[in-house]
Symmetry: C2
Subunit: 273 residues, 2 copies
């Protein structure tokens, strides 16, 4: 059976585009609807309840546009809202934490894994729990990196300031003997060269968002809801609660889509659950 409806992706900001980028490469027949909640980012420092509320607003917006699957392309929102959304929505819901944990366990030989993420994700302890649930022999060393998301969203992720911030934030990891590090926030892959440079080439960086596309693909096949028509049935659409211009500048660079165009939306009037 073929299902030509779109897959919905949602994030606090541009980070989720790291997931979309992989989806466009690996699933070229699937239509993408993306929502970034730039007006209210960063999500990391916000209370769990509020992140859950915002997540429901994004999910309800996407549901009204008719999607066949929802991808929470944000670690903070996955930690706060995945169980609730998964239990209550009539479509499959996929988060980024399980795929990131799984890829880290697969890559690590030393059984010492680092996790960097937002305060919200680190406080939730979701990565440590997901990793240990699968393999109790692993030691997880976690650190919140509250300065990373603002660097990316302000389009400064190539700057000298970014380089200094990343080096200072990660310096404690150098003595931890980890061989694998989870980039547990979908914004962080934009800082990947800087992170790799600090950690050294012997540390494997795991892109939780990119790994998630494997799960999306696997679930499309398992549930038999992939689009098997020759082409996409609908054009991809990108929405932001913030400034379309700022969003478009980063997205066009990151997705390498020169004609990328985003539409402004307001989520204040969406239901919360």
């Amino acid at each position: 059976m073929s299902d030509e409806h779109a897959i919905g992706f949602m994030d606090s900001g541009v980070g989720g585009l790291t997931v979309v980028k992989q989806a466009l490469k690996q699933l070229p027949r699937e239509t993408v609807y993306f929502v970034g909640d730039q007006a209210r980012l960063p999500y990391g420092p916000r209370p769990t309840e509020q992140v859950r509320e915002f997540s429901w607003q994004m999910a309800n917006f996407l549901l009204r546009k008719k999607i066949k699957m929802l991808v929470i392309a944000c670690n903070t929102a996955t930690a706060a809202a995945l169980p609730d959304l998964k239990a209550k929505l009539p479509i499959p819901v996929i988060g980024v934490i399980a795929p990131g944990s799984r890829a880290a366990i697969k890559a690590s030989k030393s059984h010492r894994i680092g996790v960097i993420a937002t305060e919200g994700t680190i406080k939730s302890d979701a990565y440590r729990q997901a990793i240990l649930r699968q393999d109790p022999s692993v030691t997880v060393i976690s650190k919140a990196c509250p300065k990373f998301v603002p660097l990316v969203e302000s389009n400064e992720y190539h700057s000298a300031v970014a380089k200094r911030v990343v080096a200072a934030t990660l310096k404690d990891f150098k003595s931890q003997n980890i061989d694998t590090m989870v980039m547990g926030c979908t914004h962080y892959p934009l800082l990947r060269p800087l992170i790799q440079n600090v950690m050294g080439s012997h540390v494997t960086l795991i892109d939780s968002g990119a790994e998630t596309v494997n799960d999306v693909s696997s679930m499309l096949a398992y549930l038999d809801i992939a689009n098997t028509s020759a082409t996409k049935a609908y054009p991809d659409e990108y929405f932001t609660t913030g400034s379309p211009d700022q969003f478009t500048a980063i997205a066009a660079d990151w997705l390498e889509l020169p004609n990328f165009k985003a539409t402004h939306i307001d989520l204040g009037s969406e239901q919360n659950g």
Copy 2:
């Protein structure tokens, strides 16, 4: 919710152990029940209907032992029996073709992908269809390699004969400009060094079985049926319709489990559907 029941794996022979090896590494809390139908291999040259019948016999044996998920760790059996088993069994059933196809699309930059497999798998055209369903821009070059499974099952996969057979079988691929090759039979990873040597280091070899463990892991998380107890609830068990000694020799070497022990079973009296 935690489900401590075993995951069932089935193959025509020892090839499925390449999947089990990854499962033991990535999912150390999950109990493995494995059946290899050595008495009736190779499956590759057999009619589809017969492979389906044998697959049902293995599946029914594992079901009676109470499994929570079935992994068809054999490409020939996946091509012949996955849709039927998936539609009729009360537990999730996972095959090796979708994960192998997906990993190949992800790895390929040139969009030219080679597939080597048994005659049965190549005749079914299942790989080409799975790859094109996901990405129609790919060119798939397929070849049946009927001599590979017997080489592995006779424990000759390190021999000079194996080296010559692999070189002769794959020589036509050298001019095909592929950058990725799917080892579309779970026996072939035992020949990996020889295959890589012929194809050259610029060709990425995809281990369809190892990729499948990502799907298993992803499905355990999605369906919330992973075992979250501290240890396995039951010991792993390995069954063969052939000689336990021959099976044990290869398995102990390949799985690096010195105390590996296999039990002989007879599948002739199992139901067929």
